[in-house]
């Protein structure tokens, strides 16, 4: 899959010719040493598979109970958006929107964007504006924090230990799985598709 494009280091701007990487190999910038690309261990379809799996898991993660808390016979079911709703009702609407965006909407949007980048390539369909979509993926990566939300819930569960009786629900496990799928999809992301500013250059240096 030779591509006549350059790969530009996003940190130092150094340009490199593309090379073919073996599974598990990483390409480092010759100037600043930044990891520029990683060839996933799960094969060329991995990013598409993980992103679609993540999108499927997002639905039960949003609908099923995250945590069920009990106190003196009273029971409260907490779902993904319960905290958002509580902040909204408290009058902290900007904070509620931020939590909703970073913890729910943008991770799903990122999964969707990664899937959209790979589906047209697989179908050899050129209707999608790949450079724009690649820039969207790079932007979303800075604002999608599902793994931080997972850690926050775990910290909350340990913190609440004696205060209330807690049962972890299936929604939380689906959300964890979705977060793992997102990380794996990003790691398996085909960098040749995502270079935002490909420049024509010389021959491919594939071994």
């Amino acid at each position: 899959m030779a591509k006549d494009v350059n790969l530009t280091c996003r940190l130092c701007g150094h340009k490199h010719r593309l090379i073919r990487l073996a599974p598990g190999e990483r390409a480092l910038c010759a100037r600043c040493g930044t990891v520029m690309a990683t060839e996933g261990r799960f094969g060329p379809e991995a990013a598409l598979v993980f992103s679609i799996t993540g999108l499927i898991l997002a639905l039960p993660a949003a609908l099923l109970p995250f945590v069920i808390a009990g106190k003196l016979g009273d029971e409260r079911v907490c779902r993904l958006f319960t905290g958002v709703g509580a902040l909204w009702d408290n009058g902290m609407r900007a904070l509620a929107v931020l939590v909703f965006l970073c913890g729910a909407l943008l991770p799903v949007a990122l999964l969707g964007a990664i899937a959209l980048l790979h589906v047209p390539a697989r179908l050899k369909w050129h209707a999608v504006d790949i450079p724009s979509l690649s820039r969207t993926v790079h932007l979303l990566e800075h604002w999608a924090f599902p793994e931080v939300q997972v850690l926050a819930v775990l910290v909350a569960l340990m913190k609440l230990g004696d205060l209330v009786d807690l049962t972890v629900g299936p929604g939380f496990w689906c959300y964890c799985a979705m977060a793992v799928c997102l990380v794996l999809a990003q790691r398996s992301f085909d960098f040749e598709l995502c270079d935002p500013s490909p420049v024509p250059c010389g021959t491919d240096a594939a071994p």
Binding site: C12, C32, R76, G83, A152, V153, L160
Partner: protein, 179 residues
């Protein structure tokens, strides 16, 4: 060594500097105002980020206390210090260890997201613990200031152009190095 940069790059770093200063300002109310109010069986307690961490430590939850302290106090401060150092290096010009500075930027860029831990924690606790007079948790204004500081630091990192740490555009390398 050519150390002249395009006005666009310098402008982007001015934006980064302004956002970093705004984030530093927001960290003051974020650390002084209470972030959570907990009511248990008629007993009410308001905690700032630091007092909440100390309370976790006192309860013997050392791992959680360390995680919260690192994510909510250390990371925002280190991130701002790192960005400040990078911006100072760019402003001073002259020869510099560009490779080390680029790695510093990569670390600053990577760790920033974990500061959102306290924001997600406050949202989750506010949603979950609502048992009326027996037990309830409410988010307080400090968490809004803290979230603003986190958003501003992320924006500052995005505005910073790390290519300005390097002297001049380099010629295309034959290929990347492998690992």
């Amino acid at each position: 060594m050519n150390l002249r940069f395009s006005p666009a790059r310098l402008r982007s770093n001015s934006t980064a500097a302004a956002l970093a200063v705004a984030a530093a300002v927001m960290l003051v109310p974020a650390n002084l105002l209470p972030v959570l109010n907990t009511e248990t069986s008629g007993y009410s307690r308001s905690d700032t980020i630091f007092s909440g961490t100390v309370e976790l430590w006192r309860q013997g939850l050392w791992v959680i206390a360390t995680i919260v302290f690192t994510a909510s106090i250390c990371i925002p401060l280190l991130k701002l210090a790192g960005l400040g150092w990078l911006l100072l290096c760019v402003r001073q010009g002259g020869p510099r260890d560009s490779r080390r500075l680029t790695r510093t930027f990569a670390v600053v860029d990577f760790v920033g997201r974990w500061s959102m831990l306290d924001v997600f924690l406050a949202a989750f606790l506010t949603g979950l613990v609502q048992f009326g007079e027996f037990s309830s948790v409410q988010a307080r204004s400090g968490i809004v200031a803290f979230a603003a500081a986190v958003v501003l630091t992320v924006l500052a990192t995005q505005a910073f152009d790390p290519r300005v740490l390097w002297p001049a555009p380099a010629k295309a390398s034959p290929n990347t190095s492998r690992l």
